[in-house]
């Protein structure tokens, strides 16, 4: 168990380290030409440019800049944006809770819809019910976030006006008002994701249901619902859990679009605005947090797996 845990932890840490380098250099590639000139403007005097270059540490070799940035990041200092002169950590601290709440709610919605529907489809595999479930889900799956988001916004402002309010209020201040803002965006993210969960649950369940221990349970006279939801579902969960880790990444993608549509001040919108204002320092920090959250999500799934399925540890 400990070996498994430490292996996964070390793996995640290694990936994060390499990613940090990729993100750092991608951020530097965001601004064409000399960073200092870009910040100071075209008409700045050579002295100003030299001063900015020195302030930002741009006169050091690039690997030294990366190492400086990395050690600062380990201390929790993600730098200060030279464009908006705000500390990146403060900006991210405001944006992250919104994105996190949105993706967790979206994930919850996807799982709550996806797993039961997948189990239903699997226990009647090949029948009309199975197809009656799969085809509508395929149609829903064809709705990309920007279409489902537009549709949700239209419904929310046109018909469900009680259900939706446009101004964002933090959860800690007023939970109900917060949910009022977040529910529709979360549905717009979660519902189109549900078919993925359904599909994986269905194929994993079909495999499990054909195994001998299910037949044994049946001959022992255990109720059919108990076999399906307790015995089979538990054995079918590991691939579904792995998929959920993967979906977390998809949700991050959904964030870019849904936050844009609903004007939520989250990380996704933050990255886009940093890119358009060519704020390399801020975009680096935001991308790092995003990638870190994704890796963390996958790590949590990996750590949860042995509790669902003990066989994983024996490998």
């Amino acid at each position: 168990m400990l070996l498994y845990l430490s292996k996964k932890l070390a793996g995640a840490f290694g990936v994060l380290l390499v990613l940090s380098a990729l993100i750092f250099f991608a951020g530097r590639g965001l601004v064409p030409g000399n960073l200092a000139t870009a910040i100071a403007g075209a008409k700045a005097s050579p002295e100003t440019i030299a001063a900015i270059t020195h302030d930002l540490g741009l006169d050091k070799p690039i690997y030294q800049q990366y190492l400086d940035w990395l050690t600062a990041a380990f201390r929790g200092d993600l730098g200060t944006s030279p464009i908006s002169s705000q500390a990146n950590v403060d900006v991210i601290a405001q944006q992250t809770p919104i994105s996190l709440e949105l993706s967790l709610m979206g994930l919850l919605i996807a799982v709550v819809i996806g797993i039961p529907v997948g189990v239903m489809a699997a226990s009647r595999a090949g029948s009309g019910t199975d197809w009656g479930i799969r085809v509508p889900l395929l149609v829903v799956f064809a709705f990309p976030a920007f279409v489902s988001g537009s549709a949700a916004l239209y419904l929310g402002t046109q018909y469900l006006t009680n259900l939706y309010s446009a101004s964002y209020i933090p959860f800690s201040e007023d939970p109900m008002a917060n949910l009022q803002t977040m529910l529709l965006p979360a549905l717009a993210v979660g519902v189109p994701t549900a078919p993925l969960v359904t599909q994986m649950t269905r194929s994993s369940m079909i495999e499990v249901l054909s195994q001998p221990f299910i037949a044994t349970a049946r001959t022992n006279g255990i109720a059919e619902w108990r076999i399906t939801y307790v015995y089979a579902l538990r054995a079918a969960l590991p691939p579904v859990l792995t998929l959920i880790g993967f979906i977390f990444g998809l949700l991050v993608g959904g964030l870019f679009i849904v936050e844009e549509i609903f004007s939520l001040p989250g990380l996704g919108r933050g990255v886009l605005s940093s890119i358009s204002s060519r704020d390399f320092s801020q975009v680096t920090a935001q991308a790092l947090v995003m990638a870190g959250a994704f890796i963390l999500g996958n790590l949590l799934v990996d750590l949860a797996l042995p509790f669902v399925d003990r066989r994983i540890l024996r490998k």
Binding site: R134, L138, F146, F294
Partner: protein, 293 residues
């Protein structure tokens, strides 16, 4: 006893799956839809009733009428013409992205599976790493560095799709490597490149074709999303994502300006999804229940 003379030369080129891999009612509907879109993409410029970028072809924001079947947008451009014109960048983006990912992913996968050892370790790490970045974040970062546009956005999506192709190519290569004809080719003194090209590639073509079909819909949706965020073809040109984002502010008053491009796009993605789903059933026999439908 002249069996040696009768030896059949190894088949040339890549062999496609023996049976046409998609059959059944659902697949036929999906295929005809895609064919329709391809025809629209090719004939697009010749059949649109108005020039797609002609401002003031009709009154601004007019609802669907006999003159403008899909209505007009905020600048009075004919929506039907724009919806038809937008098919081409949409299909091209998916095609570029998937071709790029297929080419690079296959090379990485075969090399990792065939060469094994250190190569496999290094290449698999790179693939795992690409998998570990949230897809859209990776695509947007790539575009942030390379700049937006149809080709760059497609390449960004292609990079995101590479690991999927690499994984399946590696896995299939490993299972082919155990077959005796690989050993036979080695004993005949064939070079590694020759074996990879003539023995491995044709034998892993089938899963790769299926993976291509599945990824077409992903790439399609991803391109529209990027174009929605303003990273696609440059603005006056018609493109589903940018049309929808530009019309977003009229959603409440004139919903059709959003509805028509959205419907046209969703139907296209749905057709790709249906093909992908039918193909996936073939790739993953666990989930196959009713034959081919």
């Amino acid at each position: 006893m002249s069996t040696i003379a009768e030896r059949r030369p190894p088949s040339r080129g890549v062999r496609l799956p023996r049976r046409w891999p998609v059959r059944g009612v659902v697949a036929n509907i999906a295929l005809s839809l895609i064919l329709l879109y391809v025809v629209l993409a090719v004939l697009g410029p010749y059949i649109t009733p108005f020039a797609p970028n002609q401002v003031g072809a009709g009154p601004n924001l007019s609802p669907p009428s006999s003159d403008h079947w899909f209505g007009t947008d905020a600048l009075g451009r004919d929506q039907l013409s724009r919806v038809i014109t937008a098919v081409r960048p949409a299909l091209l983006a998916a095609l570029y992205a998937v071709t790029f990912a297929l080419a690079i992913g296959t090379v990485i996968g075969i090399a990792a599976g065939f060469l094994g050892g250190l190569w496999d370790g290094a290449l698999s790490r790179v693939v795992d790493l690409l998998f570990a970045i949230p897809e859209y974040l990776l695509a947007i970062l790539v575009i942030a560095v390379m700049g937006s546009g149809l080709v760059n956005a497609s390449l960004a999506i292609g990079i995101v799709c590479i690991p999927r192709f690499a994984r399946i190519a590696r896995g299939s290569t490993l299972s082919i490597m155990e077959r005796s004809f690989i050993d036979a080719a080695r004993l005949c003194g064939r070079g590694r490149l020759w074996i990879m090209r003539r023995h491995i590639l044709p034998n892993i073509a089938s899963p790769l074709v299926i993976m291509t079909a599945i990824n077409l819909s992903t790439a399609e949706a991803a391109y529209a999303a990027l174009s929605f965020l303003g990273f696609g073809v440059r603005p006056p040109a018609a493109d589903y994502g940018s049309m929808i984002s530009a019309s977003q502010q009229y959603l409440l008053t004139d919903p059709w300006v959003v509805a028509f491009p959205a419907i046209a796009f969703v139907v296209l993605v749905l057709a790709f999804n249906l093909i992908g789903d039918v193909m996936r059933d073939r790739l993953d026999p666990r989930s196959r229940t009713s034959a081919g439908a």
